[in-house]
Subunit: 641 residues, 2 copies
């Protein structure tokens, strides 16, 4: 963790120095008339975006929510490994790791063939495959995730906080205007309920859930399957003689349906999803008088011979599975993307809904806005043309589509009668097979963006076979040269909207002048065609947009730090202090060699270009200067130097 | 991390529910007239004790400091692995690991034989030996350590905060009184400077530094060597061409003296200790007009051919090495320990001073009060007789003595002219040899308490050859049975004043009824002679004083959780919820087998009794019930059942 670059300041380093241009947020202060970004909804999607934007004082961000304050309990609870990698970039992964339940194993229970009225454990699956991520799959209540983002916002230079008790009810986009073209109507839902205010925005992001007013305002409709299977969910403090209560379990009974058990943070709490009766085609769960007692009774029937002794019901809800999504995630009508750029976006449940049981909802929602955040920042900073924003809908719609389809299939398998779903293929029941096949997907690790101006073609993919273009950069252990610290290379990525270029040295390259690494660094620093020179603003650090890191095949004691090129030891900040954290070497303490682990070509080395949202944009030879020039020229506008 | 045992409550789990009996700490509220414990001084020793006591609402604790508020910069910065293990128990080790500089290597520089005016790297030493601790050796400013303890106090049930601007000036002990026998005179150092107040206390702990008024009041005097070697220390933000600036370095020049370089938190800051001229016998550093410019110039001379470009001096100081200590750390005169129990204690610099350069001061100070804290709690809770408190001075004095001697020797070697200290034994200079020999000591891992009522005799030491009685419990990787989580066994220990018994099962013992583990657990839970039955209060959880944990040789999937004895699955808290975190098994994922790593007898198993301050009190066979009974009977008073 780097800090003090602009001088010493005591206290918690996560608390950034405040900017002096903050909005008055006093009790009777007015709402702003204009903002750069208005976010509707303080769910995971909205807060993830707000947290990212809050670190940029030059961007006026407002986030509203109709609730009077933060969420207290309930809703989602699954954080997959991919989201944990993102939390690492936000700086609170360690805190989450400490507080949360870790899903290490998923156990499968089915009717005991010798006594089908009783369930029996039929198998276990390791939940996070070895080296699929350095992060655990964890469970924690959504309210706590909100709080961590709110803390991050509150510690940011802008000290951003939500405007609670305000709801977006409508908006209009003036496609002929360039400044603040979106007129948003907010309605008070608190002490002045019904009062309306108008705020004009450059961009609006609807993270306002399945009944999104933002989506409706831009003409979006959820299409798909409104399912007819009711499930109940409860978070309970309870005792039980069921031995696997602290492991994730999928339990299928012979005649009473299924439960999904998710142990939770703190060591005592757990969640159960309980299958309820099938609904009729025209029936909705609101019409049925399910209570939490139905859930508890249902769980007790399903889990025979085991039983639950519930001490406290923390939260419960009944819902039905639906798998629906909109045609696009922005306000640009089909066929008009060449003529206009998006001004309004939807994210999370506002544009795709699905079953909670694969644990994807909260994750995909945050990944939506993590994809959007850096693009908005770069457009608002004037670095990139606004047509960059088209890529949000195109990239995330494809992923949402895959999610809805995979989740639909999984829900079907989970809800299928035992006779149809079990033992289709030898001894391993179908839902266990499917669970295993889905692991990469449920980890959030299967996301792959197609080739575009933001994702290169895989001409040189063979130079880093384990780091696939379009997928997230897969971290591995390294040792930092300057201080011999063992660490994860991927953890240099912060949620700071910067690009990273990881330059892997070829064999025998120890960065002596003239070596490929040295040449690349010098070219990046000095050549007029270098994207670092072309796109970095004069008043920002040389790594302000593109952050070069080098990795060597030698161990730390075989390299000479003093020989490293100056771009790998840049001076930064108000004081011009040297940054010592750019150069890495292979781990010498047994955690593995990153070249082997990620299939990096040992002879030639390569560079891996990674987007601000941690996705791999390109794999190129170390001397592919022209390709690098062309790639960044397709995204950024030259700064006036 | 376990929470919600008394029911769900949202928010940060480190923030405990507040008690309803807190003192009014409003701006004009009076000081209390009586307290259980009065702590003088908000340094590491005082705050470590205050943090521990703050979690016990039944104990009135007051901590005063003459400063107007928390320390902002300077002073100590080294946290050794042992202290990090203690921070883990306090719950903030992860935060410190994230923010701090990790000392991975220590490098040695000496005059280049070919050009003695220039220094040259002559060797590197791995700073934390493999498997000496699961924790890193870190550097972070003392003010931040204070803040972490203050946060812990502020999140505790008592929401304890210091009374700043109050200084202990004198105290008197009435040896005939039993209630609040210590009369303490406080003097205001703030807005009402000079105002005096009297507070009566049951116990007073002087953590008030080398000029301790508490020590003086009980007649303590620092004896020893007032040294005559002046050193300067500075925390700076600076650039340099010295290639090892992000590694700890001991640099010896041919004629200009020595510097010690300590990289610091944040990636830019570092500390330098610079040797200054020898002082005359009757001279003190205050009489010399050293400035920070002398330090910078001195460092530049010593480090030739490298140079420093200082951008900001964050803090600097000049000091002279002294190695001094008092005869005892409490108020009981020699020979009177049979007649009276201590009421006043000294800790940290108040009773032992030494050079900062071995990085021990802050660590030993905190370890002092971590040793005292649980004893005070248990005496004040009425669990233990007050003669338990004699052990504080006897245990810590021996350790301080060793510290002063080791540190004295180290300072002598560090300050010795190059000609005498180098190359005494082949190619490795004497200071490098000594550094290596000291590593266990400087890690804080060499502490070993002698046999006493708190430390058993090593009759059965061979059952756990790697867990030596009297030394700290050495953690190792395990997997928790209930949720298959890979973790460190030692991390079950919290700073909660509880004892842990780690029961290691013998081969083939899977806790079936009748096995040694099962019998031990049942005996502890049900036998009238069991210390759990005898010393646990009726209104507390069954693990309120003695926390049994079991470790098995099988992997998690080979054990039946449902067969575990009830003491290993106890119900706890207001709701009577089952605790699932008592049973462990060997790691199955390659981190090592705890039986092999710690020399646990595979055939017989054993139990390791660990004190609340993480020191090993006993190693016993699993069936040594009588020894266990006798051991705890030597410390605790039976509860009236």
């Amino acid at each position: 963790m780097q800090y003090y670059v602009d001088g010493f300041r005591g206290g918690d380093p996560d608390k950034k120095n405040a900017t002096n241009t903050r909005r008055d947020r006093g009790e009777f202060a007015p709402l702003p008339e204009k903002v750069d970004v208005l976010i509707a909804g303080c769910g995971p999607a909205g807060l993830c975006l707000a947290a990212q934007l809050s670190h940029f004082p030059e961007i006026d961000t407002m986030i509203v929510d109709p609730m009077p304050g933060p969420l207290e309990k309930g809703k989602a609870d699954g954080i997959n490994t991919r989201t944990m990698e993102m939390f690492q970039a936000f700086g609170f992964a360690d805190k989450v790791k400490r507080e949360s339940y870790w899903v290490n194993q998923t156990n499968f229970w089915m009717p005991n063939p010798e006594n089908p009225a009783h369930i029996k454990r039929i198998g276990r699956v390791q939940d996070v495959t070895d080296d699929s991520s350095e992060m655990p799959h964890i469970l924690i209540n959504q309210a706590r995730v909100h709080e961590l983002f709110l803390d991050d916002m509150n510690q940011s230079p802008t000290r951003l906080t939500p405007d609670y008790s305000w709801s977006v009810v409508d908006l209009e986009v003036d496609t002929t205007a360039t400044d603040y073209p979106v007129t948003v109507i907010l309605e008070n839902t608190g002490i002045n309920a019904g009062e309306r205010k108008v705020v004009r925005a450059n961009y609006v992001v609807g993270c306002d859930g399945a009944r999104s007013a933002v989506r409706t305002a831009i003409g979006g409709k959820l299409h798909g399957d409104a399912a007819h299977q009711a499930w109940g969910v409860m978070d309970i403090l309870a005792n039980t003689d069921f031995p696997d209560i602290r492991q994730k379990c999928l339990v299928t009974s012979a005649h009473e349906g299924n439960v999904l058990i998710l142990p939770r943070e703190g060591g005592y709490l757990f969640r159960m999803y309980v299958e309820l009766d099938k609904l009729n085609a025209d029936e909705r769960v609101a019409n049925r008088n399910f209570t939490v007692d139905h859930l508890i009774a249902g769980a007790n029937r399903i889990m025979q011979p085991y039983s639950l002794d519930v001490k406290e019901v923390v939260w419960w809800s009944i819902y039905e599975i639906g798998h629906r999504m909109t045609d696009r995630f922005d306000d640009v009508p089909e066929g008009e993307s060449g003529r206009r750029n998006p001004r309004v976006f939807t994210a999370g449940d506002a544009c795709h809904t699905h079953s909670p049981k694969a644990g994807q909802g909260m994750n995909v929602s945050m990944q939506d806005t993590f994809n959007l955040g850096w693009k908005l920042v770069h457009v608002l900073q004037g670095r990139a043309s606004a047509d960059l924003l088209h890529s949000y809908s195109s990239e995330r719609w494809t992923e949402a589509k895959r999610l809805v389809e995979t989740d639909h299939e999984w829900a079907r398998i989970m809800s299928a009668p035992v006779g149809e779903s079990t033992l289709d293929n030898g001894d391993e029941p179908r839902f266990m097979q499917q669970f295993k096949a889905n692991l990469e997907f449920t980890g959030g690790l299967a996301v792959k963006y197609d080739s575009s101006s933001l994702v290169g073609t895989p001409t040189y993919q063979a130079l880093a076979s384990g780091e696939e273009i379009g997928r997230r950069f897969h971290s591995a252990p390294v040792v930092r040269l300057a201080d011999a610290k063992q660490m994860q290379l991927g953890h240099v990525a912060e949620a700071d909207t910067r690009w990273r270029i990881y330059a892997f040295a070829g064999k025998n390259d120890s960065s002596s002048p003239g070596s490929a690494i040295h040449q690349l660094a010098d070219w990046l620093q000095h050549d007029p065609r270098s994207p670092v020179l072309t796109f970095t603003a004069e008043d920002e650090d040389i790594d302000g947009l593109i952050d070069l890191r080098a990795v060597f095949q030698q161990t730390f004691d075989e390299l000479a730090y003093e020989e490293m090129p100056s771009l790998l030891r840049p001076t930064k900040g108000k004081l011009g202090l040297q940054d010592h954290e750019k150069v890495f070497c292979v781990d010498h303490k047994g955690l593995g060699d990153i070249y082997d682990m990620r299939g990096i070509d040992r002879e030639q080395g390569c560079m891996i270009v990674v987007r601000p949202d941690q996705y791999i944009a390109h794999v190129l030879p170390l001397d592919a200067y022209d390709a690098l020039t062309a790639f960044f020229a397709g995204i950024y506008l030259p700064t006036t130097q």
